[in-house]
Symmetry: C2
Subunit: 759 residues, 2 copies
């Protein structure tokens, strides 16, 4: 029975519309045209069988992933208790010195316990804010927001829409041939009440505003509560004009003492230091090797010496390295004095002011008569500055930008190849056309279920893993001056890449993959989407399960760091004090969460059955990410919640997409009243977006005069400010130009230098 149904499904896939197998008596789509009266009854039976088949494939996928998740959870709760794994599962605590590596062995260490779940649950938002910064709070708010919205949507979807749809008053009226009946279509909406849609929309908008307001108030509160920080008082000035015979430094000095005499504090001219940075990196590597040799006296003489031994240099490796390091340091010092000369000056400088408000004025006012001189920018946090950027010339930066655009386009196109393969797997019929020899294997139920239900999203998942690092690299050569900006830009790129290459490419290539050209005919988009999107419901449910559940669980389990640690452990043992906790990569995780939000929004009324899976995902993500923030990741820099506008844009896009699909579906099902009732919704959404842009976005771009002046006044009577200003003057020194002291004669001051040179 299932076999026949699967054949039927293969035939009913949208690709071979002109295919005429026709000998299968169970295939109702054909018969429903031939016969007239008993259509309804047979249709219902057929749908039920089809559904059973799909549901069983889905259940296979759910089963596999559930198993994996439980496995990961259990392993995690055992492994995390082993002291040897502390650097994988609690690097943050280790770096803070809160956790001791060595503890007594007891039986409890081998038993899985859910204590960490409770701890992750109990932590308050204030704790999270103080430990992981506003960005982590924003990230968690996205998950909480999604949880709340989709809980309500789930209740509506499962308890109102699903019964209405399954009772199926209207399904029989619909021409089956028009619908792509791949999947969970039975459960999908056929007659959504418009009222409920309006309600939903209304609720969503109100909630977005609440959330936006919440985040912006958090951002301002964060600013008020922050200690004086160098980047609040500093701006980056570029395109500094230099008159003949003068230096950049003199030029900056004279300009700002002239036009900002009462508020100007100091400046640091940026130098071209790429050569120097290479030298320092060499020195650092050598130093690490040296300390390694010195601290672990057993290993090196045996292991390392063996290689050199071949050439007879067996004596005193430590001395050899020491000499080499001194040479390198001498080189670095020479290069540093070279660079400090005016010749290597970049026409950019960090200019510091005596108050935040003064810095903001210098930032926002057009400084020079010539608008392309003295271009100002908010300075990033000192350790957030991306120094390599300054070394490249204007032409090179310009070319890099071009290259990035081209690379993004190419990547998007090339990525279609795995997507096509994935889709080939999801549509068995297509796969059999391509690879006929597989036919016999694919008829085995379990294999076909694994292939259709689990494999496609797993493969997609693996390919997608590579995207965030690629995008991060592309953003890094795009000319941003701060690491946080690079991460934000990468995040944006990944969001749109995911939406395009996971959602659209799957939707369009799965059913009509040769019709990517539909975007050239904007009028037809809703109708096409209305046909293609519901057809992929089962794929996306599987995607939620694979990518959502298992990926998040593997994030908890930290598969790759664990593997690395296991491999490295026999060879090297890191000391705890130069150990650094990793930072959370928002550009890899945020897009995933946002994409699930998009799936939830678009499939909410098409296939409400996706919502329970999504809800489980969000719950799991909530616990896991909180746990990871507290135990694993340490914030490297703070954007002050600047990721939120990306979240907002993605949500607005999801809503618009939902409206487009709804319009398409109602038009397709000949409900002109319903589709015209939906038309105001996108317009309202856009107006609402416009309002949010005006009302909240400026808060994320810059702080207001009111805020800055208040904060400045608070500091005015603070005795510590003098000290702060002294520090501020040297805060933006290029770490490459700081004195380097690795060699033995002055190795006591090393550790702070390493951490600052690490950036």
């Amino acid at each position: 029975m299932a076999d026949a149904a699967s054949k039927c499904q293969r035939e009913a896939t949208p690709l071979p519309t002109s295919a005429t197998t026709g000998n299968d008596e169970l295939c109702i789509p054909k018969r429903s045209k031939d016969r007239g009266d008993d259509n309804a009854a047979i249709g219902r039976i057929w749908m039920w069988e089809l559904t059973q088949m799909i549901v069983s494939a889905l259940l296979t996928s759910v089963g596999i992933n559930l198993g994996l998740c439980i496995l990961f959870f259990t392993l995690y709760s055992i492994l995390k208790k082993q002291p040897s794994n502390f650097d994988v599962y609690a690097p943050r605590l280790l770096a803070d010195g809160k956790s001791q590596r060595s503890s007594h062995f007891n039986l409890e260490r081998l038993l899985p316990t859910p204590g960490w779940v409770r701890r992750a649950w109990q932590a308050s938002e204030e704790e999270l804010l103080s430990s992981s910064g506003l960005d982590a709070v924003v990230f968690m708010r996205v998950i909480i927001f999604s949880l709340r919205v989709f809980t309500l949507a789930g209740i509506i979807g499962v308890f109102i829409l699903l019964p209405v749809n399954c009772s199926g008053d209207q399904l029989q009226d619909v021409n089956f041939a028009n619908l792509t009946n791949n999947s969970l279509d039975v459960f999908t909406i056929s007659n959504v009440k418009n009222g409920s849609k309006w309600l939903w929309m209304h609720f969503c908008a109100v909630y977005i505003v609440t959330e936006y307001r919440y985040i912006s108030s958090k951002r301002i509160a964060y600013f008020y509560s922050s200690k004086p920080q160098p980047h609040q008082f500093t701006i980056l000035v570029r395109s500094i004009p230099v008159s003949v015979g003068s230096t950049v430094s003199n030029s900056v000095e004279s300009f700002y003492t002239d036009y900002h005499p009462s508020t100007y504090l100091s400046h640091v001219v940026v130098h071209r230091t790429n050569k120097l940075q290479n030298l320092i990196n060499d020195a650092k590597k050598l130093y690490k090797r040296l300390t390694h040799l010195q601290t672990e006296p057993v290993q090196p003489k045996f292991k390392r010496n063996g290689w050199f031994g071949l050439f007879g240099h067996k004596v005193d490796l430590v001395n050899h390295f020491e000499r080499k390091l001194e040479d390198l340091e001498e080189n670095v010092r020479l290069e540093q004095s070279d660079v400090s000369l005016a010749g290597e000056e970049v026409r950019a400088a960090f200019v510091s002011f005596k108050s935040r408000y003064a810095a903001a004025i210098a930032l926002h006012m057009q400084q020079s008569i010539n608008p392309i001189h003295w271009i100002t920018e908010q300075a990033p946090e000192p350790h957030d500055v991306y120094w390599p950027f300054f070394s490249s010339s204007f032409m090179r930066r310009w070319l890099s930008k071009l290259v990035v655009v081209v690379a993004c386009v190419l990547l998007t196109i090339l990525f279609l190849i795995p997507v096509l393969i994935v889709q080939g797997l999801a549509n068995l019929g297509q796969l059999e056309v391509w690879l006929p020899f597989l036919k016999s294997i694919l008829t085995i139920t379990f294999v076909s279920e694994v292939v259709t239900g689990y494999l496609p999203s797993l493969i997609l998942q693996l390919f997608l893993k590579a995207i965030p690092p690629i995008m991060f690299f592309l953003s890094s050569i795009q000319g941003y001056i701060a690491n946080s900006d690079i991460e934000k830009s990468a995040c944006n790129k990944v969001v749109w890449f995911t939406i395009w290459n996971v959602f659209f490419a799957n939707v369009l290539s799965g059913s009509v993959f040769y019709q990517i050209s539909i975007f050239l005919e904007p009028k037809d988009i809703p109708a096409r989407l209305a046909v293609a999107v519901p057809a992929q419901a089962s794929f996306f449910v599987a995607y939620v399960v694979t990518s959502g559940w298992t990926s998040t669980a593997s994030e908890l389990f930290r598969v790759i760091p664990l593997t690395c640690s296991l491999i490295r452990k026999p060879f090297a043992k890191r000391t705890d004090d130069d150990f650094e906790a990793p930072s959370f990569s928002y550009h890899a995780n945020l897009p995933r969460v946002l994409f699930f939000g998009l799936l939830g929004t678009t499939y909410f009324f098409l296939a409400p059955l996706i919502l329970p899976f999504l809800l489980i995902y969000f719950c799991v993500a909530y616990i896991i990410y909180r746990n990871q923030f507290m135990n694993v990741y340490a914030p490297k820099y703070e954007t002050g919640g600047k990721f939120w506008p990306i979240v907002h844009n993605s949500m607005i896009f999801s809503l618009l997409l939902m409206h487009a699909i709804a319009v398409g579906i109602f038009t397709l099902r000949k409900l002109p009243l319903a589709s015209s009732l939906i038309f105001p919704l996108p317009i309202l959404t856009l107006l609402f977006n416009e309002y949010c842009r005006k009302r909240f976005l400026p808060i994320f771009v810059a702080y207001s005069a009111e805020t800055l002046i208040k904060k400045d006044r608070e500091d005015r009577n603070d005795a510590r400010m003098a000290e702060f200003f002294k520090k501020l003057e040297i805060a933006y020194q290029d770490p490459a130009l700081l004195p380097i002291k690795y060699s033995s004669n002055s190795s006591s001051e090393t550790s702070p230098l390493i951490s600052s040179a690490e950036v």
Copy 2:
């Protein structure tokens, strides 16, 4: 011969492509397909005849317009010497008191003399700047710029392109049926050297930069040389939040004394005064009537009394008016005290600062935590404020904006009707189809020449006359706070309306008017334009002659003001002191000049013959507008050259359009190399535009910190500043709230009040 040629032309019009008259032996387009060898020779003869026909129609038009121009010039140089016409031809001198009305009669007054041309020519740019402001200089620069560019273009076009084209090596290769051979196509380019195009482009870009730099330097120089002016020290603040129990005034006071304690000077809250303004207008009218009665004692008792005489109120009309006026003034005073109360406060205020830089800081910095409160805007000059705007509510303004958009769209669509009629005239064939009874008349050569050559552009001209006032009205309800902003916006609207409705609608409706939908297929635009644009060359030459020459000459002659003055003169004689010189309407004149620039750019290589006509236009315009600026128009307000960005945008658009047409033509004529060589040009143009936007546009938006601080320092030691600040505090009083004193008991102070209430 001409008759046959005209028939041939009618047949060759693009509309009846499938029409098959075929019995006319002279029609080469048909024959050239049938026969093979002697094509070239006959083709040349046919072209020559066709050209002669078209040229003669064109010459008719040129003749008529030349006659009109000479007539206007002669009449002007006689009429302007008559003292009674001084208020038409030299209102400015009259208002300044430089010219006396009464002078001796002599014979010279009746002879046309060219002295005014010499005077207009001799005036230097500095004189123009000091007398008519920077806006007039910018306007003249546009004309000078066009003159220089098109002189060079004309030399290239007439002496290089035209001979190359006329020798016609390539014309015979072209499939005649593909080309619309309506017109001056003989003269049009067939094989432009790409090198010359590149050169031309390069030259153009360099020149635009020079010009942009010149204007921006002028703008800054103007600012440096300006006296302290209220609007430099003032900003307009809107959306002022008011706490319960407080007033807008208190709110502003406390906010600015709190956050700008050292620089805040004063503020003026805006009141809702529309009712009051109506009352004052009534009073003003009554006052005028009264002074009229009093100053001319002969007329009123006789003329005006007659009407009232019917009801027996013959006694003391002056007293009657005086009483009425006193009543009105009492009302005004009551209303003024009402309005001054907090109830009628608008949540907007003009806030003045002690320095320009402080005002700029308050303008550019986001003031409040809530970005939609305390919205700031540059204040316009006090007499430039458009007060009615403040009286309307937010909702009404929002609706007005919507209405304006709809109205603009409607106007554009409705305007197609006269355009179609015009085009019907230009294509005789079409006209005969519509109005068959005209056939006999149209065969008369002169009639057909007038109809095709002169009438179309005259009709279009008349319709176009109505557009600037309509656009001005639409802009005025759009929510601008300054009259100059309204004028700028209207100018922009008129520019795009002209380009769309004169250029595109003519080009597309003339040859393929049902194909306006081509803009939905952006790929085909160049090809369509390449077919349609050359077909309209003769129409646009006629347009230049009619609209350019005659309109400008009639601008000199001031037909409408002269007529008005002639009608009014017998009834009323205005006194010189309450006489106001009219202001130049940039929104009506600038778009016209820009449109001719567009014509010159696009037809430069299609039909170089248009250039001499254009050059004559620009020469005439140069003399006439200079003359008018010096004698007629007085500047009402000064935007400081802010019209220039509109000019720049229009020029860039012209260049892009030219490239599109060139690409289309080369593709059509199967010169793929040439068309692909042109492809980089639009990209370069856009990049260049981007550069200009970055380099120059900011100068037109706001003054830089450098400029402002320098200017402020200059003033610091000026003793007159105290006095200026005292004036500044009341500069932005709503004129409706100033004390009104029209009635006899205090009529000595009237005149200054009228002029301030006039705004």
